[in-house]
C-alpha cells in the first residue's frame, strides 16, 4: 500500500515537472517515430542527437511510450550487432 502510493506520488511529481516544461508546440508521437531510427543510430555512434533533433529529444522527455520504444530499439540493434561479431 505504502509502496504503491509512493509510486503514484512520484508519477504525480513527474507530471507536474512535465507541465512546467510544456512547450506551445511539441512533436507528436508519429513525428517522433519518423526520426527514431536516425536518433537511435546517432546514440549508437556516440553522437549527440539533441543538436540535430532537439524536438525529438523534447518529445522523448514528455512521452514515456516513445522513450520506452527508443530503449527497446537500441536493445534490438545491440542484439543484432552482438550476434554478428
Amino acid at each position: 500500500m505504502g509502496g504503491k502510493t509512493q509510486t503514484k506520488a512520484n508519477r504525480v511529481a513527474n507530471m507536474i515537472s512535465k507541465i512546467a516544461r510544456t512547450q506551445e508546440h511539441e512533436l507528436d508521437c508519429e513525428e517522433c517515430y519518423e526520426h527514431l531510427d536516425h536518433y537511435a543510430e546517432m546514440l549508437q555512434n556516440g553522437e549527440d542527437p539533441s543538436a540535430v533533433l532537439p524536438q525529438v529529444k523534447e518529445h522523448l522527455e514528455m512521452c514515456s511510450c516513445c522513450t520506452e520504444e527508443l530503449g527497446a530499439l537500441i536493445s534490438v540493434l545491440e542484439g543484432q550487432a552482438e550476434a554478428q561479431s
Partner: protein, 223 residues
C-alpha cells in the same frame, strides 16, 4: 566466421526486397533472421516481466512479432527515407510491433472504470505526499504540497472530462497512452495531443497564479 552474412547497402536492400522472387526470398530471410536475433535479445535481456517464460516461448514470441513486422516493412518500403541504415529502420518497425503487442498483453484486463471504482479522482493528488525531502530543505516539502494543491484544483476546474480521464489513467495508473487511447476510442497520437493540451492549460493556469515555471521545475525535478 563463415556466415552467409551479405552486407547490403540501403540501395541493395531496397533493390533485393523488390527484386525477382529469388532475390526477394533471400533478402526477406536475411532480414527475418536479423530482426529475430534482435527482438529475442530484447525480450530475454530487457524484459524482466517475461523472465518466467522459457527460451522456447520467447523465441516463438520473437518469431511472431517479426512476422507481423515483416509484412509492415514490405508494405511500407516507399516510406523509407534513408535517414538511417535500412536495418535500423526495419528494426524500428519490429520494435514498435513488439512493444505494442506486449502492452496489449500486459494491460488486457485494465479498464478505465477502475479509476472511478476506486473512487480516485485527480484532485486527490493533494492527499498524496511526495517523498519527504531527505536533504537539508524540509521547507520544500510544504512548497510542493502547495503547488500540488493548485494543480489539483486546476485539474478539476480547467480540464475537460476526457482530459481528466486520460490524465488520471496516465499518471495514477501509469498506463501507456496507447492503451488509454484504445479505451477512449481514439489513437495514440490523438491522445498525446489531448494530454499536451491538458498540460498546456495547466501550465497557463499555474502561471496565472504567479508561479514561475523554473521554480516549479526545481521543486519537482528531484522528487
Amino acid at each position: 566466421m563463415s556466415e552467409r552474412t551479405v552486407e547490403r547497402t540501403n540501395d541493395d536492400w531496397l533493390a533485393d526486397l523488390q527484386g525477382d522472387e529469388l532475390q526477394r526470398a533471400d533478402a526477406v530471410e536475411d532480414l527475418r533472421q536479423r530482426l529475430e536475433r534482435g527482438v529475442y535479445f530484447y525480450l530475454s535481456r530487457e524484459r524482466s516481466d517475461l523472465s518466467d517464460r522459457g527460451e522456447e516461448a520467447l523465441t516463438q514470441m520473437a518469431q511472431d512479432f517479426v512476422q507481423d513486422a515483416l509484412l509492415k516493412i514490405l508494405d511500407n518500403l516507399d516510406t523509407f527515407r534513408g535517414e538511417s541504415r535500412f536495418t535500423t529502420w526495419a528494426s524500428k518497425i519490429a520494435t514498435r510491433v513488439a512493444i505494442s503487442e506486449l502492452r496489449r498483453m500486459r494491460y488486457k484486463d485494465y479498464s478505465l472504470e477502475y479509476l472511478t471504482a476506486e473512487g480516485e479522482t485527480m484532485p486527490d493528488i493533494t492527499s498524496l505526499s511526495i517523498a519527504p525531502p531527505s536533504g537539508p530543505q524540509p521547507e520544500r516539502y510544504t512548497e510542493r504540497q502547495d503547488v500540488m494543491q493548485i494543480v489539483g484544483m486546476a485539474i478539476e476546474n480547467a480540464l475537460t472530462e476526457r482530459q481528466r480521464t486520460a490524465l488520471s489513467a496516465y499518471v495514477f495508473d501509469g498506463v501507456p497512452i496507447e492503451e488509454i487511447a484504445a479505451r477512449m476510442d481514439t489513437n495514440r497520437n490523438a491522445l498525446y495531443k489531448l494530454l499536451h493540451d491538458a498540460r498546456l492549460k495547466l501550465k497557463n493556469h499555474l502561471e496565472e497564479q504567479g508561479l514561475s515555471m523554473d521554480y516549479v521545475m526545481t521543486l519537482f525535478e528531484s522528487a
